[in-house]
Subunit: 211 residues, 2 copies
Amino acid sequence: MLVEGDRPLRSDAAKNRERLLRAAGQVFEAQGLEASVADVARAAGVGMGTLYRRFPSKDALIDALVTGVLEATVAMAEEAAEQPDGLGLEKFLAASASYEAEHVGCLPKVWCNDHELIHVARRLIARLLADAKVHHRVREDLTTTDITLAKWSIRGVLETAGGTNPQIWQRHLDLLIAGMRPAGDKLPHRPVSQAQVDRIRYSSQADPCVS
Amino acid sequence: MLVEGDRPLRSDAAKNRERLLRAAGQVFEAQGLEASVADVARAAGVGMGTLYRRFPSKDALIDALVTGVLEATVAMAEEAAEQPDGLGLEKFLAASASYEAEHVGCLPKVWCNDHELIHVARRLIARLLADAKVHHRVREDLTTTDITLAKWSIRGVLETAGGTNPQIWQRHLDLLIAGMRPAGDKLPHRPVSQAQVDRIRYSSQADPCVS
DNA sequence: TCGTAAACGGAGTGAAAACTCCGTATTGTC
DNA sequence: GACAATACGGAGTTTTCACTCCGTTTACGA
């Protein structure tokens, strides 16, 4: 998944790599993704050379953070799948929102579509949704793309509010889940097709989001 | 509201000002706010000097766009207030989402809290919400901060998906409104206080959002 | 039509930030 | 303990981009 393909890292290099990732998360959360790499290096207590030896570009550094979030997301989806009674979907949404709240820094780059792990997560979410329907936890006309939109929306709340305050995303998730509950009427508009979602490349950045 | 305090603009200057605003909207939508001002000037067909004579900084240009969106938002809220039967809130949410979808470029800077017009809009929204409650269109435990979160969430969807496709935000708004509908149970978590919302300064940019 | 105040274009400037280079230091193996 | 191989720091390079300056042009009242 990461750039290092060959032999294991020397111990100091491995330690600095972790430091850099941790520092990058903090700096990007505090200043946004336009924070300078020099700031990240300083926060990590290493030199620029070290940063660039480990991550060939700023984009690669961000991508490593994104990959971490996505791996955690997939893990949470797998764990939620073991929840009985069709409550896995809700559990997953809460768990991943909570995790994202702690990693706000790289969120703008997380839910673009280029990343392999996103497709893995999406398949798992589809199963969670199906299970929730079997147990009549959610309305019949709910689709996986609705869940995708819900995740984008939580990201919007987290990015605006910062990840500090759990109340904020919890209350918003309450509202979303209330909207997902079974109801007599269908949602007024047609669901968004998966193809439409796939076509989106996250336009608010000019460059493709994974380096 | 705008920087020009004195005499009216000469005709060519006024024309170029409009061109610049239109071009800025398009360029920022296509490339994000980190697009260069040179690109904006080129798209508008004017020189750098003209841009900077009209808008003293890039931030001021963005702020002019933001002000336009907020003025439209206030106008839409006022219009929605005339809707009978407590449907004004839903009408407003749909109208403002539709408008924002056409002005995705500057959205990242719109819903920070520093702008005077935001408070105006918020007061209008509070009245729309109260009216919706009187007519039992929404649940009793819904608060104005919930609407604020809903607007942030729509912004998240629009920013990710781009403003091009109305289906996307409509379907998401369907879900939100379904969650707002009257129900037997209360939402699990406590509502977010207005003070908490006011404390947020939109952290994903380091600088304060209005120049 | 003429004069002037206002506006125009766009090359030039300075700062900021991504990325490189290389002399020095550290790790881990024989 | 010595010696490669690997990693380290941080000053220097290059590029990008916001912003300025000034000679030329345009609008518009008299």
